[in-house]
């Protein structure tokens, strides 16, 4: 496993999950599965995390919240949708309040199916997210050095528009 020199910090957010996937995410940090041996730390702070683990579907109330959490995370970032509810809406897809999976609010990179997703699948998803994060980190570094040299740099490919309740922040690049 060549990912010993990475340090993926997670943010775990429960959209409108039944908590089954959340329990499995936390189980992934317990002794049997131990995601911390990959350097994974479950921080609760979006400002300090690299990978957003979303469980549960997106409903009308939490669309803006999920987007705000996503915007508060510094780049580069990766989103992992854990569980079938976060992928597509799951068993709750036809409910009146559920808009669908996490990709209705934010761009999702990795989908981990399952109901509830097994800790092994979650860790597999995290490992793939770490590889993607490493790739994005290198691209981010290349972008920074290109900008320092004065070259014009295309904006980040944000396929999703900024929500209207975005909290404007200072600093950053």
């Amino acid at each position: 496993m060549a990912n010993v020199n990475k340090s993926p910090w997670l943010l775990h957010y429960d959209g409108s999950s039944c908590n089954g996937c959340d329990i499995e995410v936390l189980a992934a940090l317990t002794p049997v599965y131990d995601a911390e041996r990959f350097g994974v730390v479950n921080t609760g702070d979006p400002m300090q995390s690299d990978i957003l683990l979303i469980t549960g579907g997106i409903n009308t109330q939490n669309v803006k919240i999920v987007r705000q959490l996503y915007n508060q995370m510094p780049r580069p970032k990766v989103v992992v949708a854990v569980g079938v509810c976060a992928c597509t809406g799951g068993v709750f897809k036809d409910c009146y309040n559920i808009l669908g999976g996490a990709d209705k609010a934010i761009p999702v990179d990795i989908y981990v199916p399952g109901c509830a997703a097994r800790p092994e699948s979650i860790i597999d998803g995290i490992i793939q997210a770490v590889a993607l994060f490493q790739k994005r980190l290198e691209e981010h570094g290349a972008r920074i050095s290109a900008r320092k040299k004065g070259e014009t740099v295309p904006p980040y490919d944000e396929a999703w528009p900024e929500p209207d309740n975005e909290v404007k922040m200072h600093g950053g690049k």
Binding site: D34, G39, Q48, D50, P74, R75, H140, H170, G171, G172
Partner: protein, 288 residues
């Protein structure tokens, strides 16, 4: 004079690496105590490397300035200590450094950050008496505050200062941000106020904070060693052994205790300080 410069240079250059390694050992041993495998030993360095390459979101630019002052004052404290100067002044500068950490957290208006900052001040209130009494203890037996003279004493300071040593170990739990006294911010992922004092520290600021914490850990463990070091050169390896045992003890306490509320932290710290360091002071003043 040259020896002092070498010590100071070693501190400035090597302390973050030592602190990071200790942090890695801490995480590994904690994981083993919990029945897990744990991250690689150099994980804290990988964390810092990652933090420095991410986009820094800061609520206000002054945050970085405050944290830089925190780092510089911590460096200054360590340099003063290893140059052998006045230990009382060292701890005063350390308190000033901690104040800048409070500023860095309170300057944001985030509720988690400001509550964490208030708790940081309460922690300072809890540990200041023990720290000042430690300096008083050294003065009572050596008649000097200077570190360079304390390390040339005939007998290890701990022989006369067991109570002060106990009080210092008690507050070391607070300073190293270990349970049960990690009320303002905690290592690893013990969340209560999200991340307390460090909630609004973005990537680069968090890296600054972490490196300063490593400098502080090395400084505090050196003060633990100061209790052991004397004229005899064999006292230096003995001090290293004691430091490593104290570090292991802190990890053990961290893994076995749950976080307490600030009232209990304040009360218990002051009571322990009074009973151990206070009684030791009285005894020393009576027998000398």
């Amino acid at each position: 004079m040259a020896a002092k410069m070498i010590w100071v240079l070693c501190y400035i250059l090597l302390a973050p690496f030592l602190g990071g390694l200790l942090d890695g050992i801490d995480r590994r041993i904690s994981a083993r105590m919990q029945g897990r495998v744990g991250p690689p030993l150099l994980q804290p360095f990988y964390d810092i490397r990652k933090l420095l390459s991410k986009q820094t979101i800061a609520v206000t630019r002054s945050q970085g300035f405050m944290l830089l002052i925190y780092l510089l004052l911590m460096l200054f404290t360590g340099c003063m200590f290893f140059a052998g100067s006045d230990i009382l002044m060292c701890f005063f500068v350390l308190s000033t450094a901690a104040t800048f950490l409070y500023f860095a957290a309170a300057i944001t208006d985030s509720p988690y950050s400001t509550i964490g900052a208030s708790r940081e001040l309460i922690q300072m209130m809890a540990y200041e008496p023990a720290i000042l009494l430690t300096c008083v203890g050294f003065y009572l037996i050596e008649k000097t505050f200077n570190v360079s003279e304390i390390i040339t004493s005939r007998v290890s300071a701990i022989i006369y200062l067991p109570g002060f040593f106990a009080a210092f170990l008690f507050i070391l739990t607070i300073k190293m941000r270990k349970s049960p006294f990690d009320t303002s911010t905690a290592h690893h992922a013990h969340q209560e106020l999200v991340k307390g004092v460090t909630t609004e520290f973005g990537a680069k600021n968090l890296a600054l904070f972490q490196i300063t914490e490593w400098y502080e850990t090395v400084l505090l463990l050196s003060v633990v060693g100061l209790f052991i070091v004397n004229r005899n050169p064999w006292s230096y390896p003995a001090a290293v052994l004691v430091i490593l045992s104290v570090f292991f003890l802190e990890i053990l306490i961290d893994n076995t205790c749950a976080r307490v509320k600030w009232e209990l932290m304040l009360k218990s710290t002051w009571i322990v300080t009074l009973l151990t360091a206070g009684v030791n002071t009285l005894i020393l003043m009576l027998i000398r």
